[in-house]
Point group: C2
Chain length 390, copies 2
Amino acid sequence: MVSKELRADLQLKWQRIQQAMQMVNADGCLLSVDVNLFYTTGQIFSGYFYLPSQGEPCFFVKRPNGITGSNVEYIRKPEQIPALLAEKGINQPNKLLLEADELSYNDYIRLQQLFNPKETGNATTLMRNVRMVKTPWEISQFRISAKGHAATYAEIPSCYRPGITDLEFQYEIENKMRRQGSIGIFRAFGANMDIHMGSILAGDNAEAPSPFDFALGGQGMDPSCPLGANGTILKEGTSVMVDMAGNYSAYLTDMTRVYAIGKLPELAYKAHQVSLTIQHEIENMARPGTPCADLYNLAFQMAEREGLADYFMGTKQQAKFVGHGIGLQINELPVLTPRSKELLEENMTFALEPKFVIPGTGAVGVENSYLVTNNAVEKLTLFEENIIQL
Amino acid sequence: MVSKELRADLQLKWQRIQQAMQMVNADGCLLSVDVNLFYTTGQIFSGYFYLPSQGEPCFFVKRPNGITGSNVEYIRKPEQIPALLAEKGINQPNKLLLEADELSYNDYIRLQQLFNPKETGNATTLMRNVRMVKTPWEISQFRISAKGHAATYAEIPSCYRPGITDLEFQYEIENKMRRQGSIGIFRAFGANMDIHMGSILAGDNAEAPSPFDFALGGQGMDPSCPLGANGTILKEGTSVMVDMAGNYSAYLTDMTRVYAIGKLPELAYKAHQVSLTIQHEIENMARPGTPCADLYNLAFQMAEREGLADYFMGTKQQAKFVGHGIGLQINELPVLTPRSKELLEENMTFALEPKFVIPGTGAVGVENSYLVTNNAVEKLTLFEENIIQL
């Protein structure tokens, strides 16, 4: 189905999933959600990926026609799977993992009934944990996204014309993104987390609280898409926070930069500098073994010490995290939140986004994507971090 | 929460849902999926909409801050809902409807346990059926989308330069869409149905089968997004089918036009003409009471009679429908498929898309969006339908 290099990486992923399954005494997992299919097979199809806790996986494909490879079986409906597994000498699972946080209730019940296992466990939890530590191929894909992301941001000043709105600015940036190879689709974990290519927040729209679990909100251009730019005119003294997707491969980098229309008030520059200092301190602290909660607490304490706590991660509604895992979805594990019990591990990837919202001006701060190395972190998204005047 | 005009329309929707609930002896429905929230409240928020089978609805909001109105209650978690309903004198439902095809298994189980009804029914089925017949405000929103859709398509020739790829062509069309007011997000019903702003199919990429339940496929630009344009160079003798989203309001129009690079083979023009004739015959046949299956059968028989059955709705994989309902999602009910048991009703809206794929040339045909009137159908998407030479 895939290239030799990717195949080796898929086998590494299968091994990790099998180890995780053995830890919870699961006999097999059946996956069909887009990101889990891509993770385990290198592509998205209509069908199922079945991995027993030992041995080779099977690919049950409904569509498209024409997929070939060992253990690829075409099916019309999932009810055919148990007999096909039996033909291959694979035992029916006593404990089966299904994607309980992603499959619809009806799809889950249908799969549970046809396998009728003694016990069912949550493949969403297991897969989100396994996917937290990235493989070599995945890391190479982040580097592709980071490069495209920085190349696009370098073109942002050319998208500005005096008197335009945040939306008009965004449309031109989206066009630059696509020409740089953005895939367009921007995947997030969780219900209703729809977002179109990213977010641009100008002026007081940065204060508008979000219904979703993103760091900042914005009213959006329509009540059916209540996030991001809302038609604010980019006028003198406004900060424009650009947080557009890094989807130049299937693996998402996350990166925010701030642009200024003319001169901003001193408080905005001060808060931006505090963001950079928080980033610097967290870069120094973060390494394998660092508790994610400590990273949030450090950031919050620094904001508080500077008298900026009321502006930290929003005003009317404040996000209680300063960063999050990245991958096939923009909000993977771990989360840099005070309640996190996770420790950083080598080959985790995360975005760090200390941000402030200054009433009357807009949002300031910085966001970058990082790879946890064997003794530190490596910044993946390399681009000018000061406020850039348009 | 919303304008007076929209409020009257929401009340009409609530009445229709209540009537449908009474038909299945349901006492209440709890909705939280994006399109159902928008349908019933005019906005999307993090939280729940509860409608008893008689009386006023309640709005349980987690986020964002600041929503006001009668029966708006802020909650931290859904477990607070039953007590709040009791305070308002609303009985616990004996039969509760939950979105069984849309909620995750875990979310569904959580809601079911906290209400603990004697019986649970499927709100997805009920809502998809209610949403099938549109209200006056919804119809006004389709007209906005249809206008933006046609205005964008008029700009398509200016997006073409000799020697560009289908993707480069698409990026410029996307930019025109956004400048015309496209909201960007393109919602579909069903798992993994991700699509970025629409599909452009040039040359033999139109033959690539899709993993999804769309009419045609295309390889896509990346295995993580296996649909649509794939980098095919737009060369002489290639047809380019443009099927980009009509998301100029929350209500989606669907519209396809074909552009030609130079001259196409005669078979392509013939098949395109057959598409237009099929459309014409279906327009004449369709009215309240027409079985949707008859519309598919008419289209297929006409394709067969012209000797074009092997090219109808694809080649390597052929879609078994010729149209579908449209609304907040691109694939609403009814479906124009031979297995459909639906009859057209006044104020349904649907897309009709008789298409052919000609090997070596690409896809041809037409797609328009229609409103079912009291005795006929009205075409909403008005724009030149012949093949347009670039």
